[in-house]
């Protein structure tokens, strides 16, 4: 599958601290190419690639770029979301630490395409090493004239600034992230207006995930149709998978869409299946599926039809000697801690869910607790203000569906 590797192709072959290594493998050639071109042609290629955001929501990137392009304001921003707050995900860190220039080149091209002159990289406060590598890379890019004024002899100027997050998961949500850069408590804004229209400092803003932006140099150099030749009908290109948990070989793996979870765990993760009981997709905000579903393929729309999602690409494998309710309670505690408190269903409802799960952990639940749990998971996901609350109960809802007997077994008779 060598030809299906895009983002990780040069990783471990180039030194992330040496810009010349990146330049040797065609680095910054995509930028040179676009600076002679009409921004609309770049957007056309991205649309043709059918690239979809890798931050979790899988929105079409070309369409988002076009909306920002169409805004008439003179000040526009690009924001790279490097908050990677969802436990179990570490692929953005992997990209930043191993190929920072690929990301930087992607950001500059995106900025040129939408007509912005400044970008912010919002990076998790816990990612000290990634931040240092990026700062070094930005310095090198500036010295070589890929950033700053009159980039490679053109009349295009661009600036990238790094903003450190301060330890808050909800700040990964795009509007909360913008509030946070503006120096406020990071609570989500009401949408619409979307950031593409009114984003940072109320200016049109293109906000994309690290992996999404890192794909751009390849698409520009090789063409959108080449990119779209990889993957499935609904999901083009490759996806980075963060594999962890009870596996023999954990790590980040790049796979074309359409790859099965079985292949990822068994072949890439070198893990046998006898002991596996649960597989959590995407992180705490994602569903937990049983081993019987391991043939499932990574495909955004096909998964959505079954109410499933892989979020930002985490796969967490859990052995049969762990108690499912203990795992669920961990997921829920995470959201309880990270809830920003703005709306009641999320702030109060998640706490109730945790309480009922504790009853199950201690074999004290009865039939009405089960009914209440079911109702609450539904209610919280339907009525919460932002994606945090809306997704917080996915793990519970999926186990109510796929591991129903575990609940019933624990009900007091």
């Amino acid at each position: 599958m060598e030809e299906n590797i895009i983002l990780t192709k040069h990783i471990n072959k180039i030194n992330p601290m040496a810009i010349d290594d990146y330049i040797k493998v065609n680095g910054y050639e995509a930028l040179k190419k676009v600076l002679k071109d009409d921004p609309l042609n770049i957007i056309k290629e991205i649309k043709e690639s059918a690239l979809r955001g890798r931050g979790g929501a899988a929105f079409n990137t070309g369409i988002k770029m076009e909306s920002v392009y169409n805004e008439k304001e003179t000040d526009k921003y690009v924001i790279c979301n490097a908050d990677e707050g969802e436990p179990g995900n570490f692929k953005d860190r992997y990209l930043m630490e191993n190929n920072p220039h690929q990301l930087i080149e992607g950001i500059i091209i995106a900025g040129y395409a939408v007509g912005s002159t400044k970008a912010h990289i919002y990076i998790r406060g816990e990612y000290d090493k990634s931040k240092n590598i990026l700062m070094h890379a930005l310095k090198e890019a500036k010295e070589r004239g890929f950033l700053g004024s009159n980039i490679i002899g053109s009349n295009f100027n661009y600036e990238i600034e790094i903003f450190s997050g301060m330890g808050s998961y909800v700040c990964g949500e795009e509007t909360a992230l913008i509030e946070s850069i503006e120096g406020k408590v990071g609570r989500p804004r009401i949408k619409p207006p979307f950031p593409t229209v009114k984003g940072l400092f109320d200016k049109p803003t293109l906000l994309n995930n690290v992996e999404t932006l890192s794909n751009i140099p390849y698409i520009v150099l090789n063409g959108g149709s080449k990119y779209a030749s990889i993957g499935t009908e609904s999901s083009k290109g490759t996806m980075l998978i963060s594999l962890s948990g009870n596996v023999k070989r954990s790590g980040v793996f790049e796979v074309p869409f359409g790859t099965s979870i079985k292949y990822i765990i068994g072949v890439l993760g070198e893990t046998t299946f006898e002991k596996i009981k649960m597989i959590q997709l995407g992180g705490p905000s994602g569903p937990i599926i049983p081993l019987e579903m391991v043939d499932l393929k990574i495909d955004i729309d096909a998964m959505r039809k079954s109410n499933l999602s892989i979020g930002s690409g985490a796969i967490i494998v859990i052995d049969n000697h762990f108690n499912m309710f203990e795992i669920l309670r961990k997921n829920i505690r995470f959201f309880e801690h990270e809830s920003c408190g703005k709306c009641t269903p999320c702030r109060e409802g998640i706490r109730q869910i945790r309480y009922i799960l504790s009853l199950f952990v201690n074999n004290l639940a009865n039939q009405s607790d089960l009914a209440m749990l079911e109702e609450l998971t539904h209610y919280i996901s339907e009525t919460s203000f932002c994606g945090l609350g809306q997704a917080a109960t996915n793990s519970v809802a999926s186990t109510l569906k796929y591991f129903r007997s575990e609940y019933e077994m624990r009900i007091k008779k």
Binding site: P87, G183, G245
Partner: protein, 152 residues
């Protein structure tokens, strides 16, 4: 560095409050912000102290809570949990003679939980200052603690 100088450098605007708080916290070795420091920042930026405190309580990486020289942050999210993070917690508590959330009486160590630090590939993992340690076993913990003590 002097607080006022940090404020000048970052820009004396309320929207820079978070970045200023983070920088000032570095004066105390990344550990916490004292109440006199909070007062100066609030006055300089024209914000109320309660506004500053609301930022401190929302963002977990800035805090007004006193913490020891080495803040040991242990990840117990699912990937670390299924790789034995509970035993790591127990071992640290035993070795240091404190519970999670507490600081040793000599002011050297504080034990805390942390959200995922993106080290799931080397679970179970912890973070001390800006260093991360992974693939931990109870045996390795003794060595980590001694190393911190030596670096005094």
């Amino acid at each position: 560095m002097d607080i006022k100088k940090i404020i000048e450098e970052k820009g004396k605007k309320p929207e820079n409050a978070i970045q200023i708080l983070k920088e000032v916290q570095k004066i105390n070795n990344y550990k916490y912000l004292s109440s006199p420091q909070i007062k100066i920042i609030a006055d300089e930026l024209g914000l109320s102290e309660s506004k500053i405190v609301s930022l401190l309580s929302f963002y977990t990486l800035i805090t007004e809570k006193y913490r020891g020289k080495y803040v040991i942050q242990i990840c117990t999210n699912v990937s670390c949990y299924v790789n034995g993070s509970n035993n790591i917690v127990k071992e640290f508590e035993k070795e240091l003679g404190i519970k999670m959330g507490e600081t040793t009486s000599d002011g050297l160590f504080t034990l805390e939980y942390t959200s995922c630090i993106g080290c799931c590939n080397i679970a179970p993992a912890i973070r001390i200052g800006n260093k991360k340690f992974g693939e931990l076993t109870p045996q390795k913990i003794q060595a980590i603690i001694s190393k911190c003590r030596e670096n005094l």
